[in-house]
């Protein structure tokens, strides 16, 4: 035996060792990352909400009584700041508070969290052509928007925990659900639009000394960082600390039922298509997406490829989940 035998033997160690390292490298696991929804899409009220923001600068649109009502909501901020990157223009459209959106009583309203802040961003093509619909097969590289707090490592904390995505009027629009941002006004917050579902060292560069986050110019794709304008008079360090403490507390239990029809013959979880989701009643689509948001997480990618019996082996990595009759509980 010599060192080359040992090198060869190390090369062939079980995949799990390699996956474990690749998964943990460069970032710390955080349960919020597990809850980042892959895509929640095509919900009618989400489309309307996005369209309102998109049309906000248009004077004619201001005559729209619904839009006017929306814009008068407390905490709504229209920003309309754009950054061009490659062939695309990325725009930070605005910010809205969850409780204000709920007060509108929109029919078929998607699940809106009252204590949350919604940040709306848009991506459009610079040449004026339409973005493909989410159902188009050519849409092989989606966009995501993820928010963080200035001065805190993005690998540790996410301010956002889900994104509703629609393509309307040829523009790709994301409504990113964040914790209440106002308490963090003294620290500052930002949102990153890229192809990454959570913060990664590929799309952004974090300066640990200054606490600044900037787009990684070497990233293969679109990566844009916007500072979120927050009213510093609404800063509430105690509330901010409370929110941050909440992040580190694992939920006691999370219950997600997996429809057995979503497991293929090889025991792999099948992601529902946008068409399938759009055809479902809102509650069913939401329940299905809740499963996808877990299964679409980094752990989810491995689970998705695993036979059902492997779920139990992975369960301790997914908070307090256990598997009962094929369901993750």
């Amino acid at each position: 035996m010599n060192s080359e035998n040992i090198y060869d033997a190390i090369t062939n160690i079980n995949d799990d060792f390699i996956v474990e390292i690749k998964d943990s490298k460069g970032k710390k696991a955080h349960w919020r990352i597990l809850l980042v929804a892959a895509i929640i899409t095509m919900l009618a009220a989400g489309t309307a909400l996005a369209t309102w923001f998109l049309r906000a600068p248009d004077e004619a649109a201001m005559q729209d009584p619904v839009l006017a009502a929306y814009l008068s909501l407390e905490g709504t901020v229209i920003i309309n700041e754009s950054i061009d990157d490659g062939d695309y223009r990325v725009t930070l459209l605005g910010i809205a508070q969850g409780d204000a959106i709920i007060s509108l009583n929109i029919p078929d309203m998607p699940l809106i969290e009252p204590d949350s802040t919604y940040v709306i961003t848009a991506v459009q093509k610079l040449d004026g052509s339409d973005m493909p619909l989410l159902t188009d097969s050519i849409f092989d590289r989606r966009f995501y928007a993820v928010a963080g707090i200035r001065g805190i490592s993005p690998w540790e904390y996410l301010l956002s925990y889900g994104t509703m995505t629609v393509v309307t009027e040829g523009v790709y629009i994301m409504l990113t659900i964040c914790d209440d941002l106002e308490p963090f006004a003294d620290r500052g917050a930002y949102i990153v639009v890229s192809h990454e579902i959570s913060f990664t060292g590929d799309a952004i560069i974090y300066d640990e000394i200054t606490g600044e986050v900037k787009a990684n110019e070497e990233y293969d794709g679109i990566s844009v960082v916007f500072a979120l304008p927050l009213d510093s008079s609404k800063a509430d360090p105690e509330r901010a600390e409370e929110i941050m403490q909440g992040w580190s507390r694992l939920p006691a239990e999370i219950s997600i039922e997996i429809d057995k029809n979503m497991i293929d013959a090889d025991g792999r979880f099948m992601f529902p298509s946008v068409d399938e989701l759009a055809a479902l009643p809102v509650d069913e689509a939401r329940a299905k997406m809740a499963a996808v948001s877990i299964l679409g997480s980094e752990w989810g990618y491995y689970l998705m490829q695993s036979p059902l019996e492997d779920f139990e082996l992975m369960a301790d990595h997914i908070m307090a989940c256990t598997v009962v009759d094929g369901n993750i509980r």
Partner: protein, 185 residues
């Protein structure tokens, strides 16, 4: 694109499989090969050969974790290049790593020759499972990904010397595990 979708492209003999592999794992494979060979040009060739090798082996293979699958191929290609060119080229990364791995070679030479590579892998896996998560990560990052001791030290906020000492203890521990296994053979 997710791993299983990339694998499906290989099975469908769709050349986008190569493009997606490069997009998702090019940087990862390149870093492994550069760590081992310290030669950009050779590393680039190894990475390109990795996609070709994957193309030829999927199907029949259906890997579930492409990071491990591609990483293993690029490691094998890198050491093959080292073995073929060692007389003519300096590959500092792999040379230093092999020199460190000498510390793991059991001193009971006559018995050690009998252990097959598969058995060595099993001993290493059992030994890794007994290590703390941090030590396991350090060992794999150093001896699988080929990351330099200096960069591991920097990330752990310790001196290079402290990290080298920690790695030495790990190698000595693995050596003991291998020796113990040989005695039981």
């Amino acid at each position: 694109m997710q791993d299983y979708q990339i694998v499906d492209l290989y099975w469908e003999r769709d050349e986008r499989a190569i493009k997606e592999s490069e997009a998702n794992y090019g940087k990862y494979c390149r870093s492994i090969s550069i760590n081992l060979l310290n030669n950009q040009e050779d590393a680039e060739e190894c990475v390109n050969d990795t996609w070709l090798s994957a193309w030829n082996s999927i199907p029949p293979n259906r890997p579930t974790a492409l990071s491990a699958f591609f990483g293993r191929i690029v490691r094998n290609l890198s050491i093959s290049r080292f073995r073929a060119n060692r007389a003519g080229k300096r590959y500092d990364g792999i040379t230093v790593m092999l020199s460190e791995l000498d510390d793991c070679v059991p001193s009971t030479v006559s018995v050690s020759e009998t252990m097959e590579n598969g058995q060595i892998t099993q001993v290493i896996e059992s030994w890794l499972n007994l290590q703390s998560k941090d030590d396991r990560a350090l060992f794999i990052r150093r001896y699988w990904h080929g990351e330099a001791v200096v960069s591991l030290a920097k990330e752990s906020n310790v001196t290079q010397n402290q990290m080298a000492q920690r790695m030495l203890r790990l190698r000595q521990s693995l050596k003991k595990a291998l020796e113990k296994e040989e005695i039981s053979l």
